[in-house]
């Protein structure tokens, strides 16, 4: 046993103080709200990197939708490994990432899967490759080991009968998927807008859109919760998802506000690209947050086969807690 829930929650609170400072500076947060903040529950929420996929999260942050639900969210972006660690120690009570959240749940009974904020609608772009089948014998790029991007690529390859690592080599290129394709260092890779628009401009070919293909797994942004925190504050998790749903609905109507939020958080200044990204992602921002058991099952199998043999002995149902997501409806 390691650090207790109490200390986890308190360190989450500590950090929220700095969020307060930044919140005052961000456009929408009013100073009266800072005074009222004493009644709000502060909670640290982590995500990996930043991308359009987190659209509602950004909007909720900018419009401070959280406050309506009694929350004060301190949003941080963490490294994959840091999310695993943060969830287990409780420094981050809620975090969204990929297989590493499942890994954390296998490694520690303090972590449960509490929902998802949707799946990433990847598209496969390639240069000098005519069809999916032609990938055989080529090298493809993925961002990092154990991330959504890699697992999506693996299931994509498997779905067309290619064995990753054997027929097709997967190379981790971090954030450089697009340039490595365009410069011919790798043959193909999975992209989302706005990168996909750049890919189009560069004349890369779109070989597949993953949301159109049956049986693709590993694209869900899995939400983990620190169990001791969740047990003490189930309402906080529930309210988080409720607020997220409201934000998600708002994105559909408040295009300009959404674009502003996206620009601020993703640092993408090209308004045209943002617009395209918005239109593309719009339908993928969720209002339901239940994680499919099959998805977790898939990730458990992947883990068992690669880095964490203990995953074999864990059943998906035992680590999923969809109660918060269910409560949203």
């Amino acid at each position: 046993g390691c650090g207790n829930g109490g200390s986890g929650a308190s360190s989450g609170t500590e950090v929220a103080a700095s969020a307060e400072a930044s919140g005052t500076n961000s456009g929408n947060a009013q100073t009266e709200e800072a005074a009222a903040s004493r009644e709000l529950t502060e909670v640290t929420v982590a995500m990996t990197a930043s991308g359009i996929a987190y659209g509602p999260m950004y909007l909720a942050q900018e419009q401070d939708i959280w406050a309506k639900y009694g929350l004060k969210v301190n949003l941080v972006s963490l490294d994959v490994a840091a999310i695993t660690a943060g969830l287990i120690t409780g420094q981050v009570p809620i975090a969204f990432s990929g297989a590493n959240v499942v890994d954390a749940a296998v490694k520690s009974d303090k972590v449960k899967i509490g929902g998802t904020i949707g799946s990433v609608p990847y598209m496969l772009y390639a240069k000098g490759v005519g069809s999916l089948e032609d990938l055989k014998g080529k090298v493809v790029g993925a961002s990092a080991p154990g991330g959504n991007n890699e697992y999506a690529m693996i299931t994509l390859l498997q779905s067309i009968g290619l064995a990753p690592g054997k027929d097709v080599e997967v190379l981790y290129v971090g954030a450089s998927i697009l340039p490595t394709i365009s410069e011919g260092k790798v043959a193909a890779g999975l992209l989302v807008p706005p990168m996909s628009f750049q890919a189009e401009k560069m004349g890369l070919t779109n070989l597949a859109t993953l949301s159109d293909i049956e049986g693709i797994q590993g694209t869900y942004m899995v939400g983990g919760v620190h169990q001791p925190f969740a047990e003490k504050n189930p309402q906080v998790i529930e309210n988080f998802f409720k607020a997220y749903k409201e934000a998600s609905l708002l994105t559909q109507t408040e295009k300009e506000a959404t674009l502003d939020a996206l620009e601020k958080w993703t640092k993408v200044t090209d308004r045209e690209a943002l617009d395209g990204a918005y239109e593309y992602f719009k339908s993928h921002w969720p209002t339901e947050f239940q994680v499919p058991e099959s998805e977790i099952e898939f990730l458990l199998n992947q883990l068992a086969a690669t880095t964490n043999p203990d995953a074999k002995n864990v059943k998906a149902a035992d680590i999923i807690d969809n109660s918060y997501a269910d409560a949203v409806e």
Binding site: N25, E183, Q198
Partner: protein, 280 residues
């Protein structure tokens, strides 16, 4: 033909041949600046040129003009001040700590051989270990707030400071130590009056090297866990391959570094004003 005529035919080091014209005067008193600036301007122009004639893709290499545009935009955005303050305070805390601990530690390691023998293998090991791989652990140990970043910056920058101070102490001219020793000076007096002044160049070089590490530490720290900071901005921009913005962050951080380095060099020039130039 007398000797003085002959002498005039030979170009020598006679100071009377020293340039008299206005431009030369100006040049010689500002040589350092003029040469330095021309080097920088030349490189920038070359870069812009290469991009303009489409030798390389600006998406990957950006260009001075593009960086300028993106820079103006970023600097005038509301996020900049927050980013700058966040990164700046992390840097000052982490690097300041490294200075305050590193210099005395280096002196003590250089001065007391037993202490050095005891900790040297540990220091060697710690320094040789790629601490960057442990960064996720830092978040557990020091939290996701400023703590972990300060710790990363501190641990990045303390080693060159310690090692160079140690080296400076070990290479003191032992003759100089005879004097304070003959007066039975206390160790701290010797540190103050001999060890520190004679190690100035080594320490300054260590500080300069440590500063470079510290700046990288800012980016690494903010890459792993942050919501703001110039490093975080760079990381986010890198994710969406906004090379211009990445360079803007790079230039802000490096510019800050250059300013601090210049301060450090000023300090060095102050302490080393007694030193004779080795150049002919």
């Amino acid at each position: 033909m007398n000797t003085s005529q002959k002498a005039a035919e030979v170009t020598g080091i006679d100071l009377s041949s020293f340039p008299k014209r206005q431009w030369n005067r100006f040049y010689y008193s500002n040589e350092r600046f003029i040469l330095g600036a021309s080097g920088v301007v030349f490189l920038l122009a070359l870069w812009e040129l290469i991009v303009r004639v489409n030798l390389v893709d600006p998406l990957f290499t950006s260009s001075p003009a593009r960086i300028w545009t993106a820079g103006i935009q970023y600097v005038s955005s509301e996020g900049f001040v927050n980013d700058f303050i966040a990164s700046g305070s992390e840097l000052l805390a982490g690097f300041g700590l490294a200075l305050v601990i590193g210099i005395p530690l280096g002196i003590v390691m250089g001065w007391y051989p037993k202490f050095n023998y005891l900790v040297d293998p540990i220091f060697n090991f710690l320094y040789a270990s790629p601490r960057i791989a442990l960064v996720p652990l830092f978040i557990i140990w020091f939290g996701i707030g400023m703590g972990s970043k300060v710790a990363i910056i501190f641990l990045s920058s303390i080693f060159p400071i310690v090692f160079n101070t140690l080296m400076g102490v070990k290479t003191i001219d032992p003759v100089l130590l005879n004097v304070p020793r003959s007066y039975n000076a206390k160790d701290y007096q010797i540190f103050k009056t001999v060890v520190l002044p004679s190690s100035v160049p080594a320490i300054i070089s260590g500080v300069r090297l440590g500063l470079g590490h510290a700046l990288i530490g800012v980016v690494v720290g903010e890459m792993t866990a942050a919501t703001m900071g110039v490093g975080h901005m760079m990381f986010t921009a890198g994710q969406t391959f906004q090379t211009d913005l990445v360079f803007v962050g790079l230039i802000i951080i490096a510019g800050f570094g250059v300013i601090l380095t210049s301060l450090v060099q000023l300090l060095e020039r102050h302490f080393d004003k007694w030193r004779v130039d080795i150049h002919k």
